[in-house]
Symmetry: C2
């Protein structure tokens, strides 16, 4: 029997064990969102650990967005917010940002966004429509020299369409991708004469069919729109090597 020599050391530090215990309790809703945790001293007592170890566990949890610690007041369980959930995903993409990733992003957008536009055409509310319209107006009025803002508004147009699906998973899936776009746009946008007008034209067309709830046409227009985007990118990529 090798059973005799099986692992003894758990490898987990004390503070990691504490972290997991509390995380599990939150997952299982034994600690419901919004509830206050006992004070540090009380928790030390309960767990039978030093304040140091306990605090390091709490720092871990707050870094991940599971709890919120307020000096002088106490600690509360916070429902993980979207931003917390995608924070590390953003960082992940960010750290492997290269030209290869750019190509992959474009590919994903061409896969997903036509379908998203199609669903948006079905689900959009009046609220969504006015948001999109506002965005288009802002884009139209944007100073052509302000490339940063122009790119941001273009970016937001696509995000608003994702929102108009009223499916939060769609939004969460696309958000990290869109968050990378501004950095790409800056590289490219500047050098293409007349690109703004063409972009505007497509945005208007897409808005129109989403307004009229023509889902198939929305998908088709988005497909063509992104195809153009890709062309420009490839031209850029080609020139820069």
């Amino acid at each position: 029997m090798d059973e005799v020599f099986r692992k003894i050391g758990s490898k987990l530090t004390l503070s990691q064990k504490i972290e997991r215990r509390i995380e599990a309790a939150i997952r299982e809703k034994k600690l419901p969102v919004g509830s206050k945790l006992p004070t540090e001293r009380e928790l030390c007592e309960s767990f039978g650990v030093s304040r140091t170890a306990l605090r390091e566990a709490l720092r871990r949890l707050s870094a991940r967005g599971l709890i919120e610690i307020t000096k002088g007041s106490g600690m509360t369980v916070t429902g993980l917010k979207i931003d917390d959930a995608i924070q590390n995903l953003n960082l992940y993409y960010d750290m492997q940002f290269d030209h290869n990733l750019i190509a992959q992003i474009i590919e994903v957008r061409r896969l997903f966004e036509p379908e998203i536009a199609s669903l948006a055409a079905k689900q959009r509310t009046q609220n969504d429509l006015s948001d999109i319209q506002d965005n288009i107006e802002a884009f139209k009025a944007c100073n052509p020299d302000n490339i940063q803002m122009e790119a941001d508004l273009d970016n937001k147009f696509h995000l608003l369409i994702a929102k108009a699906t009223h499916n939060p998973i769609v939004q969460i899936s696309m958000e990290p991708i869109y968050s990378l776009l501004p950095r790409m746009r800056n590289l490219i946008y500047a050098n293409v004469e007349g690109e703004k007008d063409i972009t505007l034209e497509y945005h208007l067309k897409i808005f129109d069919v989403i307004n009229k709830q023509k889902s198939d046409e929305a998908a088709e227009l988005m497909k063509v729109h992104l195809h153009r985007t890709m062309d420009i990118y490839q031209k850029y990529l080609h020139n820069s090597y």
Copy 2:
């Protein structure tokens, strides 16, 4: 102007400031992946803070997967792994798991997976094909009483197709979604007689067209396959209320 009354206090604790400083350095690759950080004592000296504050910052970073701390050895910068990146996303979905979310997941799958199958048909390698084939064989051989394994294998089939696109963003986008499926399947799968054979049939068909690189047909088949899944699901939802 509300500008007058904007926040003044930075509100950041010392350990949070330290966390951000180090995180920024990692982002900007001043601390490249794989490099060792100075020891705790040295960092205390550099930052001019106590060991407590510093350590709490380090705990935060390690909780998020940016650094790895080994007792007795030291600390190294680790490239954020995919699992770390989607860890909190999984938790996020997990905590708002309800029937509403299930419907949203199915909607997203119906939006994205046909396109994914289409791309997979173009990009798949021999390796992908044999992985998928192995999965289908395992599914075929799976004991019908083992519903858990059956569901897992079904799940993995779709994940393998996402992998076959050779676009990591596709994979990262879908992985959190698939991780929720097993829990749904368990609710549903058990009660449907003969479902396994039909699933198997579709998997075989899809494999065939991906093998032959017929991308349009792959998308179409996947669409029909998921349509069935939704039907079953809706039947279940209907019965249970």
